[in-house]
C-alpha cells in the first residue's frame, strides 16, 4: 500500500459516493429525472479500474458516474448532464446513462445491456492494427454476461488475440433477477476461462481491483490477447431510482456494507499508519466542496436552446450536404 495511491483512491471513491448521494437528493427534488443508476457500494471497482487503466479506451454501461469521475471527467459537467443542462458532458441530450468524452477516450454510457461489448471489441481490433498497445477496457454487469453480444465478443477477442480487458462487475443482480436463476454458475469467470486468462477478485477492495487490472494491462500490452476479470461487488441501492430493491434481504445488504470499500480502506490505512486522520478530513471537506459546486453549477446552468433539438443528428459536414 502506497500512501499517495491510497489517498487518491480514497478521495475518488469518496467523491464518487458523495456525488451520487447528491444526485439522489437532486433526483428526489425533481432536478434529475429518467433512469438514475447509483454505483454506491461499487466504488472500489470504478476507481480501482480507472486508476490502473489510465491509458487506452474505456467502454461502459449506464451505471457510470463514478467511473467517469475516476477517469477524469469534471463532476460539474456530469452533474449538469444529469440535470439535462447545456453545460452537461452530452449537452443535456444524454442524461445519466450517456456520458461520453472522447478526449478522455471514454466512450459511454451505453444503455443497451452488453451493447457496448462488440463496440469495445472492434475498437480493440483497431488499436491492434494501429499498433497502439494500450488497448481497451470494457466493463459490464453480471446480467450482461448472458447476452449473445457478450459471448460473441469474448469469442472474437480470443480468436483474434485482441488487446482488451473484459471486466464484469458481479453484483449478483440484474434489476430483480439473481444471477443464479439465469446462469449455470454464479462465478462468471467460468464463462471466459476457456477463451482467455480469467480470474475472480474481491471487488470491494480497491487495491485488489487496482492490482488485478495492472496485471491484465500488462498482459494485453504485451500482445498476449484478451483478459477477463470478475469482481464480486454489490450495490447498496436499488437498481435505479425507480426500484426499491426489495428483493434482497436486509442481511444480505448488511454483509456487503460491512465490506464497504471506502470505510475499510480508511480503516486499514489508519491502522497501518500510512495515511493520517488529517488527510481524510481534508479530503472529505474537499469532496463536499466539489460536490456542492457541481450541484450549483448544474442548477445555475442554462437549458439547451430549442434549436438544439435538431443538432447533432449528423455531423456538420453531412448536415450541410443533406438537402
Amino acid at each position: 500500500m502506497n500512501s499517495a495511491r491510497v489517498k487518491k483512491f480514497y478521495y475518488l471513491m469518496k467523491l464518487g459516493r458523495e456525488f451520487e448521494l447528491a444526485a439522489k437528493r437532486e433526483y428526489m427534488k425533481g432536478n434529475i429525472a429518467g433512469f438514475l443508476h447509483l454505483d454506491i457500494g461499487q466504488e472500489a471497482v470504478s476507481v480501482g479500474t480507472m486508476q490502473a487503466f489510465d491509458k487506452g479506451d474505456v467502454f461502459t454501461h449506464y451505471r457510470e458516474h463514478v467511473l467517469a469521475i475516476a477517469r477524469g471527467m469534471e463532476p460539474k459537467h456530469i452533474m449538469a448532464e444529469l440535470f439535462g443542462k447545456k453545460t452537461g458532458v452530452s449537452k443535456g441530450k444524454g442524461g445519466s446513462m450517456h456520458l461520453f468524452e472522447p478526449k478522455l477516450d471514454f466512450y459511454g454510457g451505453d444503455a443497451i445491456v452488453a451493447g457496448h461489448l462488440p463496440i469495445a471489441t472492434g475498437c480493440a481490433y483497431a488499436r491492434k492494427i494501429q499498433g497502439e498497445n494500450a488497448g481497451v477496457f470494457a466493463i459490464f454487469g453480471d446480467g450482461a454476461s448472458n447476452a449473445g453480444a457478450f459471448f460473441e465478443s469474448i469469442n472474437i477477442a480470443s480468436a483474434w488475440k485482441l488487446p482488451i480487458i473484459f471486466f464484469v462487475e458481479n453484483n449478483y443482480y440484474a434489476i430483480g433477477t439473481h444471477i443464479s436463476w439465469v446462469s449455470p454458475f454464479v462465478e462468471l469467470y467460468n464463462k471466459a476461462k476457456n477463451y482467455m486468462p480469467s480470474k475472480r477478485i474481491n471487488g470491494m477492495d480497491v487495491c485488489e481491483v487496482y492490482n488485478a487490472v495492472m496485471e491484465a494491462k500488462e498482459h494485453i500490452e504485451n500482445g498476449l490477447g484478451p483478459y477477463f476479470i470478475e469482481a464480486e461487488t454489490y450495490r447498496y441501492e436499488g437498481h435505479s431510482m425507480s426500484d426499491a430493491g426489495k428483493y434482497r434481504s436486509e442481511e444480505e445488504i448488511e454483509i456487503f456494507k460491512r465490506r464497504d470499500p471506502i470505510e475499510n480502506l480508511k480503516k486499514k490505512a489508519l491502522e497501518l499508519g500510512i495515511v493520517d486522520e488529517k488527510y481524510f478530513q481534508e479530503a472529505d471537506a474537499k469532496v463536499e466542496k466539489v460536490v456542492n459546486e457541481a450541484v450549483e453549477f448544474a442548477a445555475s446552468s442554462p437549458e439547451p436552446e430549442d434549436y438544439e433539438l435538431f443538432e447533432d443528428v449528423f455531423c456538420k459536414e453531412c448536415e450541410n450536404a443533406l438537402p
Binding site: 452530452s90 443535456g92 442524461g95 445491456v113 430483480g176 433477477t177 430549442d306 438544439e308 433539438l309 435538431f310
Partner: protein, 324 residues
C-alpha cells in the same frame, strides 16, 4: 381499473383458463414485471409457467417460438420495445415466416408484449416507437392498446390467436386509472370511434389518444367538431372505419408519437389516398414526432413529440393554409 391491471387480468385469466399459457421475460416472475404487469402471477402459477429469463432478447423470443411449436401459448415480454431490436431476427425471420415457408404446417401461437413510447426523460435508447418495424412485416399481427378495455380484450385475443402477435403498450399508460367497459362482442382488428364528429377525422393510437382528446377540447372551442379514431390494430389496418369517417368529414389528421418519416402515418396516408382520393378537401396532415433521436432534456423531449397544444396549433394552421 389501471391499464396495467387490465393487462394483468387478461394474462391471469388466460393462464387460469388454459394450462398451456406461459409468460417469460426479464423480471416477469419474482419481481412482478418492471411495470408490474405480471404482479402476483409467479406466486399463483409457479416458476414453470412464469419464467424469469436472462437478458437475452433474441432467446426470449426464440425460446417462446420453440415453446409455441411444442404446443404452449407463450407470452414473451420484451422489457421495452427498444430491446426488441435484438430479437428482430426471431420475430421477423422466424415467427412471422415459419407458417408460410412450411406451406402451412407450422403454427406459432405467440404473443410478444412490448412497452414502448416516449416516457419521461429516458433518452434515445429507451424512448422509441418502433411500430412500423413490425407493422410492415407480412405474417405478423400488430395490436396497440391505448386503454384498459382494449388492453384486456385485445391481449386475451392475442394470447388465443394461433399466429404471432406483437402487442404494443405505452409506458406512460401503466399507472393510469381508466374506465373499463364489459364487452359482449369484441373484434381485435376493429378501430374504435372514440368520439363522433362531422368536421374532421383524427386518427391516432396508443398514448396520443389522450393528447388528441385534450386537443379536441380546444378544437371544439374553435367550433370544430372532431371525429376521433383509435386504431387499436396497426396490422391489419381497419381502413374501412377510416374511409367511412373521411367520406363524412372530408378532412383527416393523423397524430402519432413516432418519428414522422416512415411512421404509421405514412402507410395510413397512402391507404387513405387510395381509398378516398376524391373525398379529401385537403392533404392529410401528419402530426408526429420529429426526425431526431429522443433527447434527455425535458424541454427538448417535449419539443420532439406532439403535445395537445402543438396538435391544436398545427391543425389550425393547416386549416388556414388549405382554406378549409
Amino acid at each position: 381499473m389501471l391499464y396495467r391491471e387490465a393487462l394483468n387480468k387478461a394474462i391471469d385469466e388466460s393462464m387460469a383458463a388454459d394450462e398451456s399459457v406461459v409468460i417469460l421475460g426479464e423480471d416477469v416472475g419474482r419481481y412482478g414485471g418492471s411495470y408490474r404487469v405480471s404482479e402476483g402471477l409467479f406466486s399463483k402459477y409457479g416458476e414453470k409457467r412464469v419464467i424469469d429469463t436472462p437478458i437475452a432478447e433474441l432467446s426470449i423470443v426464440g425460446n417462446a417460438i420453440g415453446m409455441a411449436i411444442a404446443g404452449l401459448r407463450p407470452i414473451a415480454e420484451i422489457m421495452t420495445v427498444n430491446f426488441s431490436l435484438l430479437a428482430m431476427d426471431q420475430i421477423i425471420n422466424h415467427a412471422a415466416k415459419f407458417r408460410y415457408m412450411s406451406g402451412g404446417k407450422m403454427t406459432i401461437p405467440l404473443t410478444i408484449r412490448m412497452p414502448g413510447g416516449v416516457s419521461r426523460q429516458l433518452a434515445a435508447q429507451h424512448s422509441e416507437n418502433y411500430e412500423t418495424l413490425y407493422s410492415s412485416i407480412p405474417g405478423l399481427i400488430v395490436l396497440a392498446a391505448s386503454n384498459a378495455t382494449y388492453a384486456y380484450y385485445g391481449l386475451k385475443s392475442a394470447i388465443f390467436l394461433n399466429d404471432p402477435v406483437v402487442f404494443l403498450e405505452h409506458e406512460l399508460l401503466y399507472p393510469m386509472e381508466m374506465e373499463f367497459k364489459e364487452l359482449k362482442n369484441f373484434d381485435p382488428f376493429k378501430a374504435e370511434i372514440v368520439k363522433e364528429g362531422k368536421d374532421l377525422t383524427i386518427i391516432t393510437y396508443l398514448k396520443m389518444r389522450y393528447d388528441v382528446l385534450e386537443a379536441e377540447k380546444e378544437l371544439r372551442k374553435a367550433g370544430i367538431d372532431v371525429e376521433i379514431i383509435d386504431l387499436n390494430s396497426l396490422r391489419p389496418l381497419d381502413i374501412e372505419t377510416i374511409a367511412n369517417s373521411i367520406k363524412k368529414t372530408k378532412k383527416c389528421v393523423i397524430v402519432e408519437e413516432d418519428h414522422k418519416t416512415g411512421g404509421m402515418g405514412a402507410e395510413i396516408v397512402a391507404q387513405i389516398q387510395e381509398k378516398c382520393f376524391y373525398d379529401l378537401d385537403a392533404p392529410v396532415l401528419r402530426i408526429a414526432g420529429e426526425d431526431v433521436p429522443i433527447p434527455y432534456n425535458r424541454k427538448l423531449e417535449l419539443l420532439s413529440i406532439p403535445t395537445p397544444d402543438k396538435i391544436v396549433k398545427k391543425i389550425l394552421k393547416w386549416k388556414a393554409e388549405n382554406g378549409i
